[in-house]
Structures are given as C-alpha cells and as structure tokens.
C-alpha cells in the first residue's frame, strides 16, 4: 500500500513493507512479458483478474498502452465515492469481483499502513493529494480505458459528498459512458432533485435511496430506463401510466391503493404501446388487498396463493412480442409485483387468455344484440348469430377446460 501521485507509474512514496520486500523479493528470473508475441501476451492478460490487470497497468506507460489497446472484457464496473475516497468494483467475466480503493490521506498513517499490508490488503491505493474533479476524471479514465464493459454504474454517497463535488463528479460521469446512476444515503432537496433530473439523460437507469421530498414533480421522473425510488409518495397514477421505458419501475413507498392499481392495470391492458417489464411497488400504508377492487372490469386468470389473489392478464394489442402477458403477485407486506413476459414464456396460459378474451367478446356481442333495437337491423342475420354464439361459447369453454392444467378461476 504505497502512496501514489495521480498518473504516476511509480509510487511517489513506497511504504516500508514495499521497500523491505523489494530488497528481498527476487524471483528466479523474469518472464519478459513485453517480449512475447502478441497472441500469448494478450492471452496471459485475459487470464488475469481485472484488478491484476489494473496493477499491471501501473508498471509503465508502455504496459498501460498495451493493455488499453486490448481491453479486458468485464461484466460490470461500479464507481462509488465520497469526497475522501473513490472505490471501484469490477465484475470480471469469470464471475469473480475485484475492488480497488483510492483514498486520500494527508499524513502517513504508519500503523494503518502496516496493518493493512500485514492483512495483505493490496487493493488500497493512497494518494498524496486530495481528490479534485480533474483527478477523479483522470483516475476514472485511466481505469476504464483498460476494460470493455457493457454496464457502468456510478454511486454517489450523498451524506459524504459536498454539493459542489457532486455536481462536478456528476459531470465526469455523464461525460463518459454511464448506464446507471445511484444516489445513496443523506437527503436530497427538491431543488437538487430537479437539477439532477434536468441533467441526467432519460436513457440512464436511475436509483435514489436518499430521502426525497414527499411532494415532487418532474417531467422526466418516470422516463428513465430503470426507475428505482425509495420515496415515491409524490407519484401519481398519471405518472405510472406515463411509463414507457419497457424495463423496470421499483417504488418502495407510494400512496397507491387497490383502486389505483386496478386503474393502472386497465390502462396497461388497453395501451397501444409497450409500457414496462416489471413494476414493483409498496401500496399506501394500511391498504388491504381487495380482490374485488383489484379485478374490477378486468379479464384475468385468477388463482390464490397464501390467501392472496394472484392473476395473469394480457394486453389487447401486442406491440412488443416480449411484453404480452402480465403476472400480478401481491406480497404479504403490501408490496405488489407486476411482471410482464412474452407469450412464449407461458404458452398454455396465453392460449387460455386468448380464449377468455374471445368469450368476453362473444358475451358482449350478445349483450349488444339485446340492447340494440332498430329497424335497420337484419333480424334474420341476428337470429342466426344468436344461435351461433352460445355454441361458440360452449366450444370455447370446453376447450379451456381441456387446456387448463393449472386450475385457474376465470374472471371476465
């Protein structure tokens, strides 16, 4: 655990253990990595864990350039920091994760340094200088240039971050590739939240677990790729209906009740556009799951699990093949989970839902015939349909019984 200057390839202040170790550490003979042909050299670095590749990049600028040109593929890259530390978490392709911590200390922390080294904590890098946004940018770019990563996430610890730092670091995050932004701990004011949502592109996944204002509104709030808010009592039914991210909405505290959920589900069924893949939310405190309210005017295949109504439902018009069948699951702690799947995911269930929908259409047709009395109606044709529809209905009901291996209750 030596002290480094940002951008340097040699420690500016080697720790005591490194100095002693370097005196005695003499391997039999080096393997001259840079003299190997391209293919084995690249293969060797790909056999390494992400943190080892980072350590290797610190050896020299030439080594770093070589590693940058043949980026190591990783699965995920998370950056988390406060005003005093900066932590990188890397998930390698092997499934193992590595952590690199950059920390700033004004003085040489002799005992801490010794203990950390004795405990073999090699992932901590100490810096002689305090972190300025430019430094963060340089360290971040230096690390990320070594890897090819499909998912980059920045985590801001709001209770340990000065406001001016937050803005500057956020600019660094948004200047590069950033798929997910998380704001943890502390409190976030209405003004700051508005400012953040003005700045953060809606293609980003947004997670806020910091305390948020109870009353809040922003046009982008329900447009992000993933919406994960621990406080969403300010969210309205219209907010929920406006979701088109085709991905995830997770609200850990809301003012929604069963009536709102029923309204949302009716809207989802009729919506001409794909809305979401998963909605998880906590109902308003004290709300009791009422199946009559929940199922009002919905066509569903219902079953009960732990005395709670679970059901499957389908959209009327398919616009995204992957988002066709919805599965509603209430939990005992008043959380509800609504996940949306492709028709292929539950083939038998989708067929049943189609038949149930057809039954409802035929029943409505019969009702309309009873209600419509006009001289313009072709009575012969109508009488013929009156005889046909019950037969069709009977046939459909029989088919449903044959196909239903699950024992659903049909609600339409």
């Amino acid at each position: 655990m030596c002290f480094w200057n940002i951008g340097s390839t040699t420690p500016s202040y080697p720790c005591l253990f490194c100095t002693i170790h370097a005196m005695f550490y003499r391997p039999q003979k080096s393997i001259p990595l840079l003299k190997l042909p391209f293919f084995p050299r690249r293969l060797i670095t790909r056999m390494m864990e992400p943190q080892e590749v980072f350590n290797l990049s610190l050896c020299s600028h030439r080594m770093k350039s070589i590693l940058t040109s043949s980026k190591l593929e990783i699965d995920a890259f998370h950056v988390r920091f406060s005003s005093r530390y900066f932590r990188v978490w890397i998930m390698g392709k092997s499934g193992k994760s590595s952590q690199i911590i950059f920390s700033y200390y004004k003085e040489v922390m002799g005992i801490f340094q010794a203990v950390a080294r004795l405990l073999n904590i090699r992932e901590i890098y100490m810096f002689n200088l305090s972190f300025l946004p430019n430094d963060i940018s340089e360290i971040y770019n230096r690390i990320i240039s070594l890897y090819s990563c499909p998912h980059i996430r920045w985590v801001f610890d709001l209770d340990q971050l000065w406001l001016e730092d937050l803005h500057e670091y956020l600019d660094v995050a948004l200047a590069g590739k950033c798929h997910r932004l998380s704001f943890y701990n502390g409190t976030i004011s209405r003004e700051l939240l508005t400012e953040l949502m003005d700045k953060i592109p809606v293609t980003t996944k947004l997670e806020i677990t910091s305390n948020m204002p109870v009353e809040f509104k922003h046009p982008n709030a329900f447009k992000y790729k993933t919406i994960d808010y621990s406080e969403a009592r300010w969210a309205t039914l219209d907010d929920l209906k406006s979701v088109r991210n085709e991905w995830i909405v997770d609200l850990k505290s809301t003012n929604f009740d069963c009536h709102d959920i029923n309204e949302f589900l009716k809207y989802w069924v009729a919506c001409d556009e794909a809305m979401l893949t998963r909605l998880t939310l906590q109902l308003r405190e004290g709300t009791e799951i009422d199946d009559i309210v929940l199922l009002d005017k919905l066509t569903v295949l219902l079953y009960y699990y732990k005395d709670l109504p679970h059901f499957v439902i389908k959209v009327k018009k398919i616009t995204n093949e992957k988002l066709v069948v919805g599965h509603f699951e209430p939990k005992e702690d008043n959380r509800i989970n609504f996940s949306v799947w492709s028709a292929n995911e539950f083939p038998g269930v989708f067929d049943l839902l189609e038949m149930l929908e057809k039954i409802k259409e035929l029943e409505n047709e019969l009702l309309r015939m009873d209600e419509e009395e006009s001289e313009l109606i072709d009575w012969r044709e109508q009488n013929k349909r009156r005889q046909e529809i019950p037969l069709e209905l009977e046939k459909l009901r029989r088919q449903m019984e044959e196909k239903d291996d699950f024992g659903f209750i049909y609600v339409s």
Partner: protein
C-alpha cells in the same frame, strides 16, 4: 535431410498404442517420435504433414525438421501432446478469461524455470498448440495473483518509464542501416 547417427531417439510411452508415427527433429538434432493423434494437436505440424503428403507408410522415413524448437522444449511438447491426444475438442476460443483448472499433471509438467517457460511459450506459439498455449498462459497469468505493481514489474521484466525512455533515446542515437 541428414540426421547424425548418434542422436538420441526419444520414445514416449503412449506412442506404442498408435501404429501411425511421425519423426520430428529439434533444432539441436534430437529426434522424437510422435503419434498421429498427438501431432494433430499442433496445427503447424499437422499442416506440414498434410502438405508433405506423409502417410503411415513413409512417415518414419521422412523426419520433420523443426528449426525453432530445441530438444528440451520438444520433449515437453511431445509429452503434452501424447497426454492430451484423446481429449475432447476445445470449444471455440472465447474472448475472455476461461475458467479452467490446470490439471495437476500439467502443473507438474510446467513447473519449470521462467526462462524455460518463456522458450516453451515461444515454441508453443510457433507450433500453434492451443491447449498448451492456454496452460502456459494460465501459469504465467497466475503469477500476478496478490502482487503489487512493483512485484509485477520484477516478475514480468517490465522496464520503468525511465528505462523505456533511455532505450528509445539510445535507439534513436544509434546509426541507421546507412551508417
């Protein structure tokens, strides 16, 4: 293609199983016999055998010279190929770390000093033996475990920036081909 009569012929145990044998001569004139299944692990050797039209009948009369590989490395390579000749074919090379555990037998085989390992990896690269290359690289990659940048610099013989600069300067100062 002349071979010194006193040159030792290295017999590998498994060779006897396979009736089709090939002879390989290393750069220091050691002669090795290798079975057909085993030699197929080396893309370079197998291409050579195919192009030369060697068959079961004439293989032993036509030794294959391999100028770039010495006897010591060739012995390791022949042992490795005979050991792995019936292994299932490796899946297509993937673009990331492959999680495999180096078998104990191979770990023992590759427990050689770094200089030899370096030469072996060059030979493996030349002979294009994917599995042995994977194993050698795994051994070399594993040397980075729990090492600091300073230790890595020593293990992998990486010059510092100052050394690289000095090398570059001396290269640019030295006279070119025209003198």
């Amino acid at each position: 293609m002349s071979v010194e009569p006193e040159v030792p012929i290295v017999q590998v145990e498994e060779v006897r199983e396979n009736p089709v044998l090939y002879k390989i001569i290393s750069s220091d004139n050691h002669v090795f016999t290798i079975s057909e299944h085993a030699v197929k692990l080396s893309k370079t050797l197998w291409d050579l055998i195919t192009n030369l039209g060697l068959t079961a009948e004439n293989a032993l009369d036509n030794p294959i010279p391999v100028e770039n590989v010495n006897g010591k490395n060739m012995e390791t390579i022949v042992q490795f190929c005979e050991r792995h000749k019936y292994d299932e074919e490796e899946p297509e090379y993937t673009n990331y770390i492959r999680e495999f555990v180096l078998p104990e037998w191979d770990r023992q085989l590759l427990s050689i000093d770094n200089e030899e390992l370096f030469q072996l990896i060059l030979a493996t690269n030349y002979l294009d033996i994917q599995k042995l290359m994977d194993y050698c690289c795994r051994v070399i990659g594993d040397m980075a475990k729990d090492k600091t940048p300073e230790e890595l610099r020593i293990i992998y013989g990486i010059p510092t920036d100052a050394e690289d600069d000095a090398l570059e300067r001396s290269a640019s100062d030295s006279p070119g081909p025209s003198g």
